[in-house]
């Protein structure tokens, strides 16, 4: 498809389990972002990739969270030892960039992965 694709759309897991969330950005988009949106809140920045490297991971809440983008396209957000507080919608966004900034200002968001930790 032409848009940002995220899988799974829904994930229910038990406390303490390991979870992987996948993001397939729009082809050719070098910038990739992960955001987390809790119920009733706006999205919160987690991490930014420019190509293969994580240029800014300052939004990751703790060391249980990790993200990779090994080939500069698909990215995986990994959460270890999940906790109930990790329950949220995890959004991925991508953009074409000129020196890190989208030319039009638009970030293209996927529909998100809804994570529920029981």
């Amino acid at each position: 498809g032409a848009g940002v694709s995220q899988t799974p759309s829904n994930k229910v897991t038990e406390k303490g389990k390991y979870v992987e969330l996948r993001c397939d950005p729009i082809s050719g988009h070098t910038a990739l972002y992960w955001y987390r949106q809790s119920l009733g809140q706006g999205p919160e920045f987690l991490i930014y990739f420019q190509g293969t490297g994580a240029a800014d991971d300052s939004g990751l809440p703790n060391d249980r969270f990790f993200a990779v983008r090994p080939e500069g396209s698909v990215s995986t957000l990994k959460i270890q030892r999940t906790e109930r507080g990790d329950s949220a919608v995890y959004l991925c966004a991508s953009s074409q960039t000129s020196q890190g900034r989208s030319k039009t200002g638009e970030l293209f968001f996927g529909e998100g992965s809804r994570l529920t930790v029981l």
């Binding site: 009733g40 706006g42 999205p43 930014y48 900034r101 039009t104 200002g105």
Partner: protein, 114 residues
């Protein structure tokens, strides 16, 4: 850190009425973004404002950024049921590293009654 306050938190209007949503920043903005979100869907980009006093329109939606670049308003003319959703303002700063590390407001939930 950047903080954005949106008002109102929710809004119910009759179809055909005009409405305004406000977004206020605690810091001078470099870029101010407006997005729309429907339940179960990702964010849809509406527009970006960067210059003080700038105004942009898309169909029946107009957004303005004040001269001091700390406040933005989004105005919908003759609202329709298709306008219903959550409107989010977002902002990034010069010190965000040259990329779009956007801080979002908590959103304004709009319902349009036919």
């Amino acid at each position: 850190s950047q903080e954005l306050e949106q008002s109102p938190q929710s809004l119910i209007v009759q179809e055909g009425k005009n409405l305004t949503i406000n977004c206020t920043s605690s810091k001078t903005l470099y870029g101010l973004y407006w997005y729309k979100q429907k339940y179960g869907e990702g964010l849809i980009f509406l527009m970006m404002l960067q210059k003080g006093g700038e105004e942009k329109s898309h169909e029946k939606i107009t957004a303005k950024l004040d001269e001091k670049k700390q406040q933005s308003s989004l105005h919908i003319t003759a609202s329709q049921p298709s306008h219903a959703g959550i409107y989010l303002c977002g902002a990034d700063n010069y010190d965000s590293g040259g990329y779009q590390k956007v801080t979002f407001g908590t959103g304004t939930k709009l319902q349009v009654i036919p």
